[in-house]
């Protein structure tokens, strides 16, 4: 039940992502700058980098499916890409020690891979007609900047939460 705190944090981030963020800025599909908040996913990557692959994997499936159900008409795309990327990032993270810089780089790498997989699947099933160039310049770069800022802000608080939950076990 120590995970409960983490679950609450992730769920709040999920709500912020869908309900609060679109109130302040929103990117339509024709916008030339598409900043997409992926806060839950970035937090999950950080959780994984702090050494809890099991939680990261489990919650990436859970919140991936929630994203699919609530925000998209197609099931499974986010769940698949989030869970796969969490695992890949974990494998990569075993080669480095986790500091702010390496966590920032790794979480951004994970985000890049995740967005790329989702884009590929959506392109294949005809959910988007965004060109690859538009995806790179308009979508990926602004999204990574926004989420890097989020990763930077949330690194220390999240680590404290993880340490406190790990300590109580």
């Amino acid at each position: 039940m120590k995970q409960f705190k983490l679950f609450i944090i992730l769920f709040l981030l999920f709500l912020v992502q869908g309900t609060v963020m679109p109130r302040f800025f929103y990117s339509t599909s024709d916008a030339s700058v598409q900043m997409v908040p992926q806060f839950v996913f970035v937090a999950l990557l950080l959780v994984t980098l702090f050494g809890r692959l099991d939680w990261g994997f489990r919650y990436s499936l859970l919140f991936g499916f929630l994203t699919d159900i609530i925000f998209t008409p197609v099931l499974g795309v986010y769940a698949f890409s989030m869970a796969l990327t969490v695992y890949l990032t974990y494998r990569l993270s075993r080669w480095v020690t986790i500091t702010v810089v390496s966590a920032l780089l790794l979480s951004n790498f994970g985000l890049l891979v995740e967005q790329f997989i989702v884009y590929l699947i959506y392109l294949m099933i005809g959910m988007t007609q965004q060109s690859f160039w538009a995806f790179l310049s308009a979508h990926l770069v602004p999204t990574m900047l926004l989420n890097a800022a989020f990763a930077l802000i949330s690194f220390y608080p999240l680590r404290r939460v993880m340490e406190s939950t790990a300590g109580k076990r």
Partner: protein, 286 residues
């Protein structure tokens, strides 16, 4: 080679790929019909979204107010000039409605509902998919409020989309800017009095395309495009947008036009779900 296939992780990956493909094909098949667990998740999360939406809206409204104040003077001048025009239009409207109703009475069809009569269900936007690929909203009204899949959704500026899957207390709205949405909207071009079909959205240009307009129709830039009411769910005269350019289609048989939607899709807070009163064409209503 045998060790390659006994690799547990590869098998897990392949299995999950198969599951993914199965899930995708399942959900592409029944787009508007959500299964019970989906509806449950949608409603449960919807409740939390509804609660969080209130402070979020206040905060966003505060910044909006500051922004509004800067343009208030210019806006006020414009509104004043519009208001003079408005009084005249209102009188005209009253006069026309009166004579219209009288004529209907004369014809003995005053009991029939008009194509443009509808019932409005006001609703609040409680969430919005934030990746730019899915153009989808969640609103705080569901089946228990009388919402059905396929109904038109408008805001004060015009048509924004249609209801997708409906939960008990929440429902999803697919916007007309969704490139994946294949539904066609029957439209009428005002002044030219010609019909056409809205067939899709072009995200690169930010325009809807209107097709199947007769080749000799006198349509030009600036004319308004509205729903025609010649469909199952949409009433007549919901504003869709304005024509920005006209061209001939690739075979030279019909005209096509690009339409700029009248709605600002960046800022959607309150919407209304529209249930049309007239019977559908397919049900043999009078």
């Amino acid at each position: 080679m045998p060790s390659f296939f006994s690799n547990k992780k590869l098998i897990v990956l392949l299995t999950s790929l198969i599951v993914l493909i199965a899930l995708i094909s399942y959900s592409l098949k029944n787009e508007t019909h959500a299964s019970l667990p989906e509806r449950f998740a949608q409603d449960t999360v919807g409740w939390f979204q509804y609660v969080l939406n209130v402070p979020a809206q206040y905060a966003a409204g505060f910044f909006q107010n500051i922004d509004d104040m800067r343009g208030a003077y210019q806006e006020n001048k414009k509104l004043k000039s519009d208001l003079e025009h408005y009084a005249q239009v209102e009188q005209q409207n009253e006069e026309l409605t009166h004579s219209y109703n009288q004529m209907k009475k004369l014809l003995g069809i005053n009991k029939d509902p008009n194509l443009f009569d509808y019932k409005k269900y006001p609703a609040m936007v409680i969430a919005r998919s934030s990746d730019a690929w899915n153009q989808q909203l969640t609103i705080d009204k569901g089946r228990l409020n009388g919402i059905k899949a396929g109904m038109a959704v408008v805001n004060d500026q015009g048509l924004i989309g249609k209801v997708g899957s409906v939960g008990n207390f929440t429902s999803k709205v697919f916007l007309i800017t969704d490139t994946q949405d294949v539904s066609q909207i029957s439209a009428i071009i005002q002044k030219a009095n010609t019909y056409g079909m809205i067939t899709g959205y072009n995200p690169n240009a930010g325009t809807l395309s209107l097709q199947k307009v007769p080749i000799n129709a006198k349509i030009k830039k600036g004319q308004s495009v509205l729903t025609s009411g010649l469909s199952r769910m949409y009433p007549k005269l919901l504003s869709i947008g304005k024509i920005v350019s006209v061209s001939t289609d690739q075979y030279g048989l019909t005209k096509t036009a690009k339409i700029k939607p009248s709605v600002d899709f960046n800022d959607l807070n309150y919407v209304a779900v529209i249930e049309r009163k007239a019977a559908s064409a397919g049900t043999g209503g009078q």
